[in-house]
């Protein structure tokens, strides 16, 4: 097991109505799993006056109504939960779903595939193979509704973000940087490189929960042709599921 900064996990006030539980200050695959397990545990033993718990990559925001419960009380209860065990030791993400998600790599949708393959020092075909062979975990959702952050890609994929932000990439873009993949459900600006596109729309405002692929789920991408992509995109636009639950 890796050695972690001994000050973590810690709990700090965030504004006047929230506590932030920090498991680390840097992204780590194992720490993220610990955080997700802890998130699950809080859900099973709710704290009075807490209105919302939301996990990020390596921290967890616990919002409460300060007119119902004090920060001190929330902190004490969270501290007790943290002390139940060593959360960083062999964390287990509870009941993750595993998904196979189609991606049309390169072409007119994955405009940065060539540049990414050059950064990796491999052919485009090898870059596609590496990306689609990785078994990734949904580390968090953020930035926009249904937008997944997945990791970790092989070490070589620890490539920097772009210096100049792209004003807009379309929904379903498969973006890569810093060892992760981002999969947005709507068009958005980004500083990440785009290597392909999936027909999956991971956000449906009329469903509960409003996302299909969620925290802790594991994902493996598989390449599809432009033709297959178009077919799947049409199905997705008609509200059909285009991903396989394995």
């Amino acid at each position: 097991m890796a050695s972690y900064d001994p000050i973590f996990p810690d709990i700090v006030p965030a504004g006047d109505s929230a506590a932030l539980v920090r498991f680390s200050q840097t992204l780590d695959f194992n720490v993220n799993a610990a955080l997700l397990e802890f998130d699950n545990y809080i859900a099973s033993s709710p704290i009075n006056g807490v209105t919302e718990v939301s996990p990020a990559l390596v921290s967890l925001l616990v919002r409460f109504d300060p007119l119902q419960v004090s920060y001190k009380e929330v902190e004490t209860q969270l501290q007790q939960m943290l002390q139940l065990k060593d959360w960083l030791l062999k964390p287990v993400v509870k009941d993750p779903a595993h998904w196979r998600i189609p991606v049309y790599y390169g072409g007119e949708t994955g405009t940065d595939l060539n540049e990414v393959s050059q950064l990796l020092g491999v052919s485009e075909a090898d870059a596609i193979e590496q990306h689609s062979q990785a078994r990734l975990r949904v580390l968090t959702l953020g930035f926009a509704p249904g937008c997944c952050y997945l990791g970790m890609l092989p070490e070589a994929w620890n490539i920097p973000r772009l210096k100049v932000i792209k004003p807009q990439v379309p929904a379903g873009s498969i973006l890569v940087a810093i060892g992760q993949t981002v999969m947005p459900s709507a068009a958005m600006p980004t500083g990440w490189r785009c290597i392909g596109r999936t027909p999956l729309n991971n956000f449906n405002a009329t469903k509960l929960p409003p996302v299909q692929v969620k925290h802790g789920d594991t994902v493996q991408y598989y390449p599809v042709s432009a033709r297959e992509f178009k077919k799947l995109q049409a199905a997705s636009d008609n509200g059909l599921s285009v991903i396989e639950h394995v």
């Binding site: 504004g15 109505s17 007119l67 956000f203 405002a205 996302v211």
Partner: protein, 346 residues
Amino acid sequence: MGSLSVIEAGPGISLQDYGRPGYQRYGITEGGVMDRWALAEVNTLLGNAVDTAALEMIAMGGSFKVEGDVLKLATSGAEMDLQVDGAAVPWRSSFTVQPGQIIRCGYAKKSIYSYLQVAAGFDCTQVMGSFSTHSRSGFGGFNGRLVSAGDELPVMSCVASGVVINTQPQRLPIADYLSRETIRVVWGTQANVFSTEVRQALLNSSFSVSAMRDRMGARLSTDAGSLAADTGLSGVSDAVLIGDIQIAGDGVATVLLADRQPTGGYPRIATVITADLDAISQMPTGKAFRFELVTATQAVDALQNRKQALDRLDSNLTSVTRRPEDITDLLSYNLIDGVIAPGANH
């Protein structure tokens, strides 16, 4: 069934309530009204539940034609010139309108966000527990988008909603949060990445909200110079709070507001206390203000005081009385059934 048909609309009119907390884990920001106090006011004027969704207008109003039924309306937030069929109606008051009449809201004076509401509220579908419009993501409110000319906005039936229309127009005094010169803050979770000098500069400098402001946030101007953090921007993204004062790589501060992104990686030096969120959201563009550091206890006390004031908001209601000499067209009104047409100008 009554409705308002939209003849003209400013560029930022949307239906908003207190938003949809509880979905941040799915990347969905809470959103909701920019001025929570004003939403409570506009609903109190009409006897609605304080969190009933109302039309929020950003800086510019619009014209609305009353269709199908007698409606009772009210306004709050940033003051606008309000007219019904060309006759002035006082802001922050309730008024009754007849089918065919035209309501016109002008430009916001001083502050930014104005509210127009109907008794019983507008009739549309709740999404994830809220009527709030999230126009960036295309859901909530009226078809997930801003209100535009040609829209017809259906109004809930007062009878079905159990709302009794009191035709006596009422008004509320202007609240002092619209003229604040200090905004209270607590240090942010990443305040430690800023030098002592930068933190002092935050508290000792004059700030104003620049023209770069929207429902997501307000970029600030200051004489403090760069407020850049000591360390780089390598922080791992975590949850963003409403009221967070984020310092981007260029050293410029932005206060993150209702439609903020749910997560962010820029360090946040301080957070505006919950009790002052309406004041910072409504801060007039270019008006000088300062940040005042308070303790967590003071922040919660301020919130408690605000809640108590909000709970007794209806005790501030006063009847709008009209001087007979102002009523030039008295005979044209049907006074028998107690419906008082607008036109009071005082």
